[in-house]
């Protein structure tokens, strides 16, 4: 499936076959309208108890990424994230599949508040945002 210029279309047509690990896991998540890079697909939530088993949501954030790292390192990432996160048992950000617009070399989602931008927001407010010129585009 590709257009005349060779770019894969990735149109979400019915009957398309994807491999969950290959085509979803660890892909870049991009917000459709703004083109903002919104994280990696750190894990995928499956709905196995429904009549037809489907993919329910894409998970992103340290709570999704940490458990996939091996042994001590994985536990370290998870425990540091637990400690820094305000919630009792922090969960990864879940992007319900209804928000997924397109899947090609990246996963395109419609614009939405993705919530947990913890580190980025904190750094913006306490550090980067305070440096003159932080709000300007480069000339």
């Amino acid at each position: 499936m590709s257009t005349s210029d060779g770019r894969p279309t990735g149109v979400t047509h019915a009957g398309r076959v994807l491999h969950a690990g290959l085509h979803l896991l660890d892909r870049q998540i991009v917000e459709q309208g703004t083109g903002r890079m919104a994280g990696k697909v750190d894990d995928v939530e499956l709905a196995l108890d429904e009549d037809v088993p489907v993919v329910r949501a894409l998970l992103t954030g340290p709570a999704g990424w940490g458990p996939r790292l091996p042994g001590l390192l994985g536990r370290l990432v998870t425990s540091v994230h637990h400690r820094l996160h305000p919630a009792e048992d922090p969960q990864p950000v879940a992007i319900d599949m209804t928000h997924v617009v397109d899947i090609d070399s990246a996963v395109h989602v419609d614009d939405q508040d993705l919530g947990d931008q913890g580190l980025g927001e904190w750094l913006d407010q306490h550090f980067i945002g305070r440096i003159p010129g932080a709000g300007d585009a480069t000339e």
Binding site: A14, H19, L46, V54, V55
Partner: protein, 115 residues
């Protein structure tokens, strides 16, 4: 359940014999309509590899270079496809309702399969 919990898991057949490990999950976009964009991704089956700790790197499909495909096939052993209906999943194990001998080879030309 999360995908990462499933990948790499050991799989046993109807006779409780070791078959291999879960290499990937095949999705077909013909599930019930959810949301404004498209049909949901239905889980249609598993791709199994005979050996443990092998990443197929996408070479379960028919892609080049030939040297890589050959090498990964050697590392992975038999690559087979099991329809979801034949998979019985519980907390820690994956069991199949078929025997190893009845497994079908995974079709590398994945784009053409519609099941």
């Amino acid at each position: 359940m999360r995908l990462s919990e499933l990948l790499g898991r050991e799989v046993r057949d109807a006779d409780n014999e070791y078959v291999g490990t879960v290499a990937d999950l095949v999705l077909v976009q013909d599930g019930p309509l959810r949301g404004p964009y498209a049909a949901s991704l239905r889980i249609s089956g598993l791709i199994l590899v005979e050996r443990r700790h092998v990443r197929l790197l996408g070479y379960e499909r028919d892609v080049l270079p030939v040297a890589f495909r050959w090498l990964l096939k050697r590392l992975a052993g038999r690559i087979s496809y099991v329809p979801w209906e034949a998979v019985d999943l519980d907390e820690a194990s994956v069991t199949l309702s078929v025997r190893t001998a009845d497994l079908v080879e995974h079709d590398p030309a994945y784009r053409r399969r519609t099941s």
